[in-house]
């Protein structure tokens, strides 16, 4: 029995290691290519796996050409304001929908559910026309605009509030708190983990979004990382070492944050994604 268990454990590890390799090879190839010269990257006889000399110039070239500092800044501002807007509006609405009884609540919640069931592309043309008609294209606000409120986040926070015990509110009310104070001082702090989950979820999906930033901010000073990569691919055609260097620089900050806060990331995505 013991040996059978040991064999099973070895088999499981072998499977998991093979899958891990499959997951990591594209990243490894991205890194290796980013340090090669163009001629090394397109050499087939013999095929070059490791660069002869590690070409740091690829990174300096793309950082200068693409103004990565500005891309980071735009992306960061977009993510920051989207998190603030999403957490703020969803916390308020989530509390009302989860804990209060008022006329019209069913309608409000129906609206939230309805939005969640519709594919997001259906909003894009009118949102685009609103922003361009207000002359707000090529601004940070334009990047944040579709994320000002979040039906999904509202739903998530509502679930969190519904899970809190009823007597907390009663106690607060007996102590003379009005609804606003009860929310702010008693209830909202208890949903901190859901707020963090929503924040992480918002950040990851804002970072990954491509179509909206690509259409709304076309000025080269107002691009974000994802739309800049898309634009760069068109320009650099087959200079893969530089494309890979740029991809690496674009993804590295998020990967580092993810590795540092791995537990929060995975749990945040699991709780928010699972409750959808």
């Amino acid at each position: 029995m013991e040996t059978r268990k040991k064999i099973m454990s070895v088999v499981i590890h072998v499977v998991l290691i093979l899958v891990s390799i499959t997951m990591l090879v594209p990243f490894a190839w991205m890194i290796l290519t980013a340090f090669k010269t163009v001629s090394e990257s397109t050499q087939v006889n013999p095929f070059v796996i490791f660069p002869k000399e590690w070409q740091w110039e690829n990174f300096t070239t793309v950082i200068n050409n693409m103004n990565f500092f500005m891309l980071y800044k735009n992306t960061l501002l977009m993510i920051f304001f989207r998190i603030v807007a999403a957490v703020l509006t969803a916390t308020l609405a989530g509390y009302a929908l989860g804990r209060l009884n008022f006329k019209g609540k069913g309608l409000a919640f129906g609206l939230v559910l309805f939005q969640m069931m519709v594919p997001a592309q259906i909003f894009i043309i009118p949102q685009y026309l609103m922003i361009t008609k207000l002359n707000l294209a090529n601004t940070i606000f334009a990047l944040v605009f579709p994320g000002l409120v979040t039906a999904f986040g509202t739903f998530l926070l509502r679930q969190a509030y519904m899970g809190l015990p009823k007597d907390l509110e009663e106690a607060a009310r007996l102590d003379g708190c009005n609804i606003g104070q009860t929310f702010l001082f008693i209830m909202a702090p208890l949903t901190r983990s859901s707020m963090v989950a929503l924040g992480i979820f918002t950040a990851v999906f804002a970072f990954k979004d491509l179509m909206w930033p690509m259409i709304i901010n076309t000025d080269k000073n107002m691009l974000v990382l994802s739309s800049a990569l898309a634009k760069m691919q068109g320009q650099y055609a087959s200079k893969y070492p530089e494309l890979m260097a740029a991809s690496l620089i674009a993804c590295l900050p998020m990967i580092i944050i993810y590795l540092l806060f791995q537990k929060q990331f995975i749990e945040g995505i699991a709780t928010s994604g699972g409750k959808l």
Binding site: T42, L100, Q121, I122, T271, G274
Partner: protein, 299 residues
């Protein structure tokens, strides 16, 4: 006494009404401006032909719909989208489920494996698509080198869409796995112990205990993955450059929508395509809702 109570109650109800609406108001205004009005406007625009520079829209009735439904392009795009989803959804779910079951135990390196599988989730699809395009490169790509092949992975119209779906699977496995791991936490451990005592093998336990008990999670992941798969855009946009001979056989509905609305600037026609997408997604979701009664167990 009773009267006083009633007054208190109505005061409380009025309070909740005021605070309730105060709290939901920002979200409601936002939803109406950002989502409800746009849905109506998109449907309206689908009956219009967009004028030059977006001004002078002209009502054309069902012309856009007739044009779309008689144009082979949309049906080809629908087929491409289905082909993509038919690879991406089942494979990403099956592999993720197996990985979640393998990781759902005390073992060495559990969090390392989990972190690795989840890694593609935090990368921009633009970067992911670029590196895969490079791996797939028919002349200098790593894949042809490793397998000693000479395959035109993403420029052969027959295979390109499946190769892109492989990228989709690779990208989403970790996400599905994390959702399954959360679902597996709910399965009581004694079920497995009892099954082990009865002599049920690991495979048997997987099919008779694990799958039925986490079928609500599987169903949820299925529905969201089908919806997500039908909306595929980033990977196709990034991998298939204009002029790729396989583009026609890979472009998805959302790609066509993007192309019509923002490249050709015909937003009326773009709206028509996205309404079509909405209908397709709704039909498939309703179908899944009905089908779930056959295989999802809620206790």
């Amino acid at each position: 006494m009773a009267g006083k109570n009633k007054v208190k109650k109505t005061a409380q109800a009025r309070n909740e009404f005021i605070w309730g609406w105060l709290f939901v108001l920002p979200t409601m205004i936002g939803l109406i401006v950002l989502n409800i009005y746009p849905i109506i406007d998109t449907i309206r625009q689908s009956f219009y032909k967009t004028g030059d520079f977006g001004i002078g829209d002209k009502f054309v009735g069902l012309d856009n719909y007739v044009k779309m439904l008689t144009d082979g392009e949309i049906w080809q795009a629908l087929l491409n989208t289905f082909k993509y989803a038919i690879v991406e959804v089942p494979f990403s779910i099956a592999i993720a489920l197996v990985l979640a079951v393998l990781l759902n135990r005390k073992m060495k390196g559990r969090s390392v494996y989990r972190a690795i599988f989840f890694l593609p989730m935090v990368c921009a699809p633009a970067a992911v698509a670029m590196v895969w395009r490079w791996l797939y490169n028919s002349e200098f790509g790593l894949l042809n080198h490793i397998f000693h092949t000479d395959i035109k992975w993403v420029s052969n119209p027959k295979t390109a869409v499946y190769c892109i779906a492989v990228i989709g699977v690779w990208s989403i496995i970790g996400y599905n796995m994390v959702l399954f791991l959360a679902g597996l936490q709910e399965v009581p451990h004694d079920y497995y112990e009892a099954a082990s005592i009865d002599g049920a093998s690991g495979v048997r336990q997987f099919f008779s205990i694990t799958i039925p008990l986490i079928s609500p999670t599987i169903f949820f992941v299925c529905v969201t993955r089908v919806i997500g798969g039908l909306q595929v855009f980033d990977l196709i946009y990034m991998v298939m450059e204009r002029g790729n001979p396989a583009l026609e056989k890979t472009q998805s509905l959302v790609y066509l929508f993007y192309d019509a609305s923002f490249v050709e600037k015909n937003m009326g026609y773009g709206s028509t395509i996205v309404v079509f997408l909405l209908v397709v997604i709704m039909i498939l979701t309703v179908f899944q809702m009905i089908a779930q009664k056959k295989w999802v167990y809620y206790n």
